[in-house]
Amino acid sequence: MGTATGIIRALNSGIKHIATKRFTLRYPEEKLKFVGDGYQFDPSTGVGIAGLKGRHMLFHDHCTGCQLCSIACEGVAEAIAMVKVPENQKQNKKSIMPQIDYGKCVFCGLCVDACPFYALYMTNDYELSSFTKEGLIYTPAQLQVKPYVAQDSEIIITKWGATHG
């Protein structure tokens, strides 16, 4: 193949892309769709349930304050601290619950795997930025809130290329 034909072929392959669809996700306006409701773990079978590893969610009526999540985080990120909570749950004699520092968390989800009482899950919430370091520390009361996450676009493959819908 001659030099000129090669260059024309290369240019032609680029020019074809003027007609194809835009693949870029316009992030703050469009948000990606995820499978499931966040990463969860079923201790009876020992297998997780697929989902995004985002911000955690703590179920106060299941948490016994056993500290297994905090122990699982030792040596990984040490993001989980057990703090005193004012409320009185009957299964939680010591009244301690995990408080998670998202400045340290690496979102590996090993704390979810460690919880034997279905109390700690992960959610689809990934927009955690804060102006202060203290704002990244989520108390048990904040972790209890189920987040609302907008999910509107996913990859669609058409004849004219892939697009985010």
Partner: protein, 379 residues
């Protein structure tokens, strides 16, 4: 202070008047956290001394203080784009130490994750290779098309990079519902897209004239220097661990290893691209042969222990070549010693031999064609 106490490159060298010492890196965006000390005569490189070690994080020592499960998140940090392949030998080794039998479905899921990760890494590598040669299209296209596979990995493991998906005894979670269909569709489109790269990049006469016959590594030298992976296969040695020492279910899949005889910069850049096409093929085969249901993880005790003094060495074919993991256990919850033997560092050894006599302008293309990842080499 005399010269002998100074690190190499900082010492004043009494050289020929014609020869100049040039430091490329460690802050140079092209070298990527490492320094290449080159001595040039005019435009030609006389000698070259690669100087890695700027991002040494002590992963191996850190592993001695963490148990077999807690080691997983930090061991995948050396190559975050190829995190499943970095964990693969560790996980295989721990399984042999603890005597765990992995379910069949988990093995297939692992193969799919590993091949997806190989493509994700190679696309990132290819994007940087394109921008090294001043080819902006080849930076934008792979960086965009990676998204198709990152989306698949996000669906499987819940994280876009550093998946922490492999564990001793299988994988963390099963594939999401309808995954086979989505995966097949996106992998097919990805394959179609990377075939388009041929016209714009690999058959482009400008690229061929820049990279052909630069940094030629002969077959004998490749074997003598002990390079691995795509660099070895570009020099005409057919050695792919997926074929030679099949691990997990690779022996049941039809793996074709790509070999080129030239051994130059062009061949070294083309082999990873051919490997990506092969990876797409393997993913499709694995999706077809995978058992449709079944367990994907064996339940382990909370803190698994090795059985007395024991050691194991496992290696896999990563995106950068053979990646080995040597684990020594002394019967405690932590490994006694862990050693990662990485492909990047072995490929770097060839750099001084390849650059001698080359023009300085060819240095980026020869350096990056070695499939070298600075963070992995430093560990």
């Amino acid at each position: 202070m005399t010269n002998e106490f100074l690190p190499p490159g900082l010492a004043l060298q009494k050289a020929d008047e014609r020869i100049m010492t040039l430091n490329v890196g460690p802050q140079h965006p092209g070298s990527g956290h490492m320094r290449i000390i080159v001595q040039i005569d005019g435009d030609y490189i006389v000698a070259c001394d690669p100087d890695p070690g700027y991002v040494h994080r002590g992963e191996e020592k850190m592993a001695e203080y963490r148990n077999y499960i807690t080691n997983i998140p930090h061991l995948e940090r050396p190559v975050i784009h190829d995190s499943c392949n970095v964990l693969y030998p560790y996980v295989l080794g721990v399984e042999e130490l603890l005597g765990i039998e992995v379910p069949e479905r988990a093995k297939y899921v692992r193969v799919i994750c590993s091949e997806l990760n190989r493509c994700i890494y190679t696309m990132y590598w290819l994007a940087i290779y394109g921008i090294f040669l001043g080819h902006s299209t080849m930076f934008m296209w792979p960086a965009g098309d990676r998204e198709l596979l990152i989306d698949l990995m996000e669906k499987i493991s819940g994280a876009r990079v550093t998946h922490a998906h492999f564990v001793p005894g299988g994988v963390r979670n099963d594939l999401p519902p309808n995954f086979e269909e989505v995966c097949l569709r996106q992998v097919n489109y990805f394959e179609k897209r990377i075939r388009e790269y041929a016209a714009v990049f690999y058959d482009n006469p400008i690229l061929i004239s820049r990279t052909q016959d630069t940094g030629v590594l002969s077959r004998e030298d490749a074997i003598r220097l002990g390079v691995t992976g795509s660099v070895l296969r570009a020099s005409g040695v057919d050695y792919d661990l997926r074929k030679k020492e099949p691990y997990d279910v690779y022996e049941e899949l039809d793996v074709h290893s790509n070999v080129m005889k030239e051994g130059d910069s062009y061949a070294r850049s083309k082999i990873p691209w051919l490997d990506m096409l092969e990876s797409c093929n393997i993913i499709k085969q694995a999706l077809e042969k995978m058992p449709k249901s079944g367990s994907v993880r064996v339940k382990l005790k909370p803190n698994p222990k090795g059985k007395g003094f024991d050691s194991v060495y496992k290696r896999v074919e990563s995106g950068r070549g053979s990646l080995g993991c040597h684990i020594v256990s002394d019967g405690k919850v932590e490994p006694y010693r862990l050693k990662l033997s990485v492909g990047s560092f072995r490929n770097l050894i060839a750099l001084p031999y390849l650059l001698k006599g080359e023009k300085l302008g060819n240095m980026p293309s020869v350096y990056w064609s070695l499939n070298y990842w600075p963070v992995e080499a430093d560990r």
